[in-house]
């Protein structure tokens, strides 16, 4: 049986949900242990255990919340060298990426990044990686021990399995040399009614909307649907909307019941973040836009006219 670890990221004192998805997938393949570092890690134990971690290694040490990557890397490197796991899984989130990258370089073992599927058997660890922005999927077999693998959030559904858990509180003595990139303040910018990642309906806009001012049309529709607003990288880069709304390779991965893409051409950089949506509606003036080829319902037309009509239609139905 493979010895698998899941790096359970604690973000602002709360367990980042990707760890539960990774545990759900990994428990099929062997014994799974989770490592959680920072204030809030102890409180994450019940969830980690419920999703299949047979052991949780944790530390409530504050430096893990106050500094980027380096103290985490120190602990992970020492644990890997001491206990030789076969596979260490990370979520493809910005904090975990920084830790995984440093760890791979320190161990000199490389890693496999951006995975969307995982198989582990006697012949090794295999990871499916979207290639070419998601049009192709490559299968990589890990060529190193341990295999370090980063998996995109929402690649698997999390489900509980129950079971007993061993707890191990790590004795951490942070090295002053690793306390360098310090978080001195945190600012929450997005006051989202509904969190983009959790929304049942996402209304997303791209360059085809013509300007930042037209995003209010999407906000109206999202509000009528009880959903959230998303955006393509192009309009985030252009400064129309904040980064927190970006869906795609460099942004968030969403899997809503309905995804409405308005004025988004459908570059692979974007579609890799929304392909898992149950039903995709695309509105685009260009009948050759790639988004229309992956949409369940494609409307060739002007989003600026159609979106308000849909919003009004919903309000009429509700009698508001």
């Amino acid at each position: 049986m493979a010895k698998i670890w899941v790096y359970a990221e604690i973000k602002d004192g709360v367990l980042e949900g990707t760890a539960l998805e990774l545990l759900t997938c990994a428990r099929k393949f062997g014994g799974v242990e989770a490592i959680a570092l920072g204030p809030g890690s102890r409180a994450s134990v019940p969830a980690l255990s419920a999703h299949g971690a047979s052991r949780v290694l944790f530390s409530e040490e504050a430096v893990f919340a106050d500094y980027l990557a380096e103290p985490h890397t120190d602990v992970m490197a020492a644990l890997v060298l001491e206990r030789s796991p076969d596979l260490v899984l990370f979520g493809f989130t910005s904090d975990s990426r920084d830790v995984a990258g440093r760890l791979a370089a320190r161990l000199g073992c490389g890693l496999i990044s951006n995975g969307i599927g995982l198989e582990v058997d006697a012949s090794g660890v295999r990871v499916q990686v979207p290639y070419f922005g998601g049009a192709k999927v490559a299968t990589y077999r890990a060529n190193q021990q341990p295999a370090l693998v980063l998996i995109r959030p929402r690649s698997f559904a999390a489900s509980e399995s129950g079971g007993a858990v061993d707890l191990e509180e790590l004795a951490v003595e942070p090295s002053p040399a690793s306390l360098r990139a310090r978080i001195v303040d945190r600012k929450i910018e997005a006051s989202e009614r509904v969190k983009l990642e959790d929304a049942k309906v996402v209304v997303a806009g791209g360059r085809g909307l013509g300007g930042a001012e037209n995003f209010s049309l999407l906000e109206d529709l999202a509000e009528a649907l009880g959903g959230a607003v998303g955006a393509s990288r192009a309009v985030v880069d252009a400064g129309w909307v904040p980064y927190s709304t970006q869906v795609g390779q460099t942004g968030k991965t969403v899997t809503p019941e309905v995804y409405i893409a308005a004025g988004i051409s459908g570059a692979m950089q974007h579609t890799v973040g929304m392909k898992g949506s149950k039903f995709v509606i695309a509105i685009n003036r260009d009948k050759d836009a790639p988004i229309l080829k992956i949409a369940d319902l494609g409307i060739v037309g002007d989003a600026l006219r159609i979106v308000p009509q849909v919003t009004q239609g919903i309000r009429d139905q509700r009698g508001t």
Binding site: R102, G110, V137, N143, L297, G301
Partner: protein
Amino acid sequence: MKIVVAIKQVPDPNGPQGLEADNRLTRSREVALDPGDEYGIEVALRLKESQGGEVVLVSMGPERARDALRKGLSMGADKGILISDTVLEGADALLTARALAAAIAPLAADLVVCGTESYDGSTGMVPPMLAEILGLPQLSAAGQVEVSGDSITVHRQTGDGHQVVEAALPALVSVTAAVGEPRYASLKGIMAARSKEISVVTGAALNLDAGRRAEVVEGVEDAEARPPGETLEDDGSNGAERILTALRACKVI
């Protein structure tokens, strides 16, 4: 201050793209400086303008990656270093980071600037690996960068806002598009770039061996395609009607 920017030449995001028979991304067609790296160069140039100093571009790639370096030089960087060697062909992220680190370490930079992830590979792993090998702190996902004296402060973008992160120099920063629009190369800049130095170093000169790759590619398949859907030309009202019907069928209204 001495600023090093790591840059990459990638298949032109606006050009035709393809895969080679061995499943490497095609680099034989149109290529361009990675758009993400233009933000890195922009940050470096602004720091040079406010703090004084020198901006050195470092890239790994085939001989023609000179073009990417030349573009950065025409934006205003001072010189370029190209790491070019057949032993580095098809390098994975760790070998890339080792090669960049070997070329950057002797420069004694105050700041190393990277993009967040490349347009083609998109692993996002070179910046943290490079920071680790160079022994530097990494300030990642930086949407705003300020240097004051010997310390750097960034706004690090998060899913719901940003963190303010500080470190003493030397450091490595990986930047996002939020740092602001990269400048265009002026005609004067393009002319000046012609006489700027691009030095070429080999893997052997950097004492690099290819090492063992992190992974073996076993196959590449087309991604599971979504079944073809329905397409409708809007006539002024039927588009919205059809969408409302679909939303009802999905039980979200």
